[in-house]
């Protein structure tokens, strides 16, 4: 007897462990640190984030900050990723450490998914309100249906204070102001406790009497009907009728209390307004491009033609959020994340001003540890080994022109 008892006890604990580990440990994605493991071509040839600005890097709970900037939807979107016809401007943070108080593309609020056009550039802004203290890596992010999340550059932001002080007041259209952080919580607990207790009461009613062994013996010997008494039937009827009555009553009292409710809102926003970008007057032809593995440097031979009316110089190469600058031409003043910024990472064989109407072939080298750190060099192992990026040319008056480059990349191992 002891043996069987032990066995059953042991088995129940195994069952308990299995079930507990199986389902109860499920947690929604809490990490937003996929940036480095995302295939390099995904980051280089889909959404190009630039002119990014994180308005703060330190704030206390309830403070707000914005991430603003632009993104260019690459015209040479890879065949292996679905086109951004249904996309959602998200934010890459580890769970709701901030709340997203607002997000806009081209001035339009985008709580919905949007359609983006290839080759266009959009302005965006995300307003965040600090909720949970800690150091968080805050990334720009675009989810593309069929393409997955496309993670942009991230910057460390520190939130101090206490989450207990976090407030999220909202005024409804019925004129009530509520705190969304705790709203409806006691009502939820009340009803769940109520129904759970009723369920336990029903099981307890039957568990008062002997359950398994005597009952199976009775059933097996043909005396099943004797197991349910007239009282049992009355109690059962009361449970069922009571449950239905409570559902009906609680439903109608809820409707009285909340006469105005609307269905959940969903939909796709088409026709997002892109940024009006004047056609660049600089044209660039990529003659060849190689990635030198030992030197962690990408070398491009470019033929640049200036069709405009002001002399220009190359100031920046930006790919996958990594910015290679020629310090003599352009400097970062936005507090861009250090690990993504190569302040002197761009070397140009001849970067003297290119006069209007002139053309010149130059050697451009973009070198920085970021190639390795951000695993961009893995591009050479991608199924479609092309690179893409943004070139920024500057004139003396502070004007800037953006030119896309897109070309095959040949690795060099010596």
């Amino acid at each position: 007897m002891k043996l069987i008892k032990d066995k059953v006890a042991k088995l129940s604990f195994v069952a308990l462990l299995v079930s507990v580990t199986a389902a109860m440990f499920y947690t929604p994605t809490a990490s937003a640190h996929g940036e480095k493991s995302q295939a390099a071509f995904m980051r280089m040839r889909t959404i190009h984030w630039f002119d990014l600005n994180w308005s703060k890097d330190e704030l206390t709970v309830n403070d707000t900050m914005t991430i603003s900037g632009k993104f260019h939807v690459f015209a040479g979107w890879p065949e292996t990723v679905d086109k951004p016809e249904i996309s959602f401007l998200n934010i890459g943070i580890p769970g709701p450490v901030f709340i997203r108080a607002g997000s806009w593309i081209g001035g339009q609020l985008v709580p919905r998914s949007v359609t983006l056009e290839l080759g266009e550039t959009y302005e965006f802004k995300v307003l965040l309100k600090a909720r949970r203290p800690g150091d968080w890596h805050v990334h720009t992010m675009m989810n593309v249906k069929g393409g997955g999340p496309i993670i942009g550059p991230g910057k460390w932001v520190t939130i101090s204070g206490s989450m207990a002080n976090f407030k999220n007041p909202i005024t409804t259209l019925t004129g009530e102001t509520i705190d969304l952080e705790t709203y409806n919580l006691s009502n939820t607990y009340f009803w769940h406790t109520f129904w759970y207790a009723l369920g336990i009461a029903w099981v307890a009613y039957w568990a008062r009497k002997p359950m398994f062994i005597p009952r199976i013996i009775a059933v097996d010997s043909g005396k099943a009907d004797s197991l349910i008494s007239a009282t049992d039937r009355k109690v059962a009827l009361a449970f069922a009728a009571g449950s239905i009555a409570i559902v009906a009553m609680s439903m109608s009292s809820t409707n009285e209390q909340y006469p105005v409710t609307t269905p959940l809102q969903a939909g796709l926003l088409r026709g997002m307004k892109p940024l009006e970008m004047p056609a660049p007057t600089v044209s660039v032809k990529v003659e060849d491009a190689t990635y030198r593995v030992p030197g962690r440097a990408m070398q491009m031979t470019l033929t640049v033609t200036n069709n405009g009316d002001a002399p220009i110089r190359l100031g920046e190469f930006n790919t996958a959020g990594v910015r290679f600058l020629d310090a003599a031409v352009s400097k970062d003043e936005s507090g861009y994340p250090d690990d993504l910024l190569a302040e002197e990472g761009l070397t140009v064989s001849d970067n003297s001003a290119l006069a209007p109407g002139q053309s010149r072939t130059i050697q451009v080298t973009a070198s920085d540890a970021a190639w390795e750190v951000y695993r961009l060099a893995d591009l050479i192992y991608d199924p479609d080994s092309r690179f893409a990026g943004l070139l920024f040319f500057y004139d003396d008056a502070g004007g800037r022109q953006m030119v896309m480059v897109d070309a095959p990349l040949i690795p060099s191992f010596i």
């Binding site: 007897m1 059953v8 006890a9 129940s12 079930s19 507990v20 389902a23 109860m24 947690t27 929604p28 994605t29 809490a30 937003a32 959602f88 998200n90 934010i91 769970g95 709701p96 450490v97 997203r100 108080a101 607002g102 709580p111 919905r112 998914s113 992010m141 989810n143 909202i170 409804t172 259209l173 969304l180 952080e181 709203y183 409806n184 939820t188 769940h192 129904w195 369920g199 039957w206 002997p210 359950m211 398994f212 059933v219 349910i228 039937r233 059962a236 069922a240 449950s243 559902v247 609680s250 439903m251 009292s253 809820t254 409707n255 909340y258 609307t262 269905p263 959940l264 809102q265 796709l268």
Partner: protein, 247 residues
């Protein structure tokens, strides 16, 4: 154990042992059902149950009773036909809700800090009680499937409405109208659950105007009938003792 020697020496002892067995079996049953039902439910119901901004009047109402009647039907068939115990559906739902609450409270809230008022589970208890009572009073699987299955589908939305209605109050937010539940989904950032995978208000029941919830509930009830039959047989098959030796 040898067959020639009884393990108990008196009737009192037999009763005591039988009672111990009762609790051990009920305890084991609870957690085994919990595990199986919870995993099944997470894979089939998933996001519909995780987030308030998925609890719409169309797909949530349709999908959850259908995937939720499975284990109650199977457990009922074992407990009723073999033991005449009429709490199969309720014990299954108690297990599911227990697992879900542990998961939502400790993981969604305790670990990832999603507010509980955004991630609480759906309530299945009214339907489960009615399902158990119908089987007990009718002693008929067919009647339980038809009446109980339909009831299970129909009671789901009204049984949850007192909990979710407050979240369907509209707000105006930066020039757009949304419900508080929509706003929860927008505020509390989910990197892995973008807006476009939210399956709400999709479907073809457009001709019924704004009364989609009752229509969805009826449809759900009809499918629940079929699923009930199916899982009742699964339960019978699992509960079969043909492969153990009788003494």
């Amino acid at each position: 154990m040898s067959a020639s020697q009884s393990a108990v020496r008196s009737r009192a002892e037999a009763v005591k042992v039988s009672r111990t067995f009762d609790w051990l079996i009920l305890f084991t049953l609870f957690f085994v059902i919990l595990g199986g039902y919870h995993v099944h439910f997470m894979l089939t119901g998933g996001d519909w149950d995780f987030w308030t901004d998925w609890k719409d009047r169309r797909l949530w109402v349709t999908v959850l009773p259908i995937v939720g009647i499975t284990f109650p039907a199977a457990v009922q068939s074992v407990l009723w036909w073999r033991y005449r115990l009429p709490f199969g559906a309720v014990v299954a739902v108690l297990g599911l809700l227990f697992g879900e609450w542990v998961n939502r409270y400790f993981n969604f809230w305790g670990w990832t800090y999603f507010p509980v008022n955004f991630v609480f589970p759906s309530n299945f208890m009214p339907g489960a009680i009615v399902l158990d009572v119908i089987l007990m009073l009718s002693n008929s699987m067919q009647l339980t499937a038809v009446l109980g299955g339909l009831g299970y589908g129909l009671l789901f939305y009204p049984g949850n409405w007192p909990i979710i209605a407050p979240l369907h109050v509209p707000v105006e937010y930066n020039g757009m109208m949304m419900t508080l539940a929509d706003l929860q989904g927008y505020h509390y950032v989910r990197t892995g659950t973008p807006e476009y995978i939210r399956m709400v208000e999709k479907g073809t029941l457009r001709t019924f105007g704004k009364d989609v919830a009752p229509v969805s509930a009826f449809f759900s009830g009809f499918v629940s009938i079929i699923i009930y039959f199916l899982w009742h047989f699964f339960g019978k098959w699992f509960g079969s003792t043909a492969f153990t030796q009788s003494t």
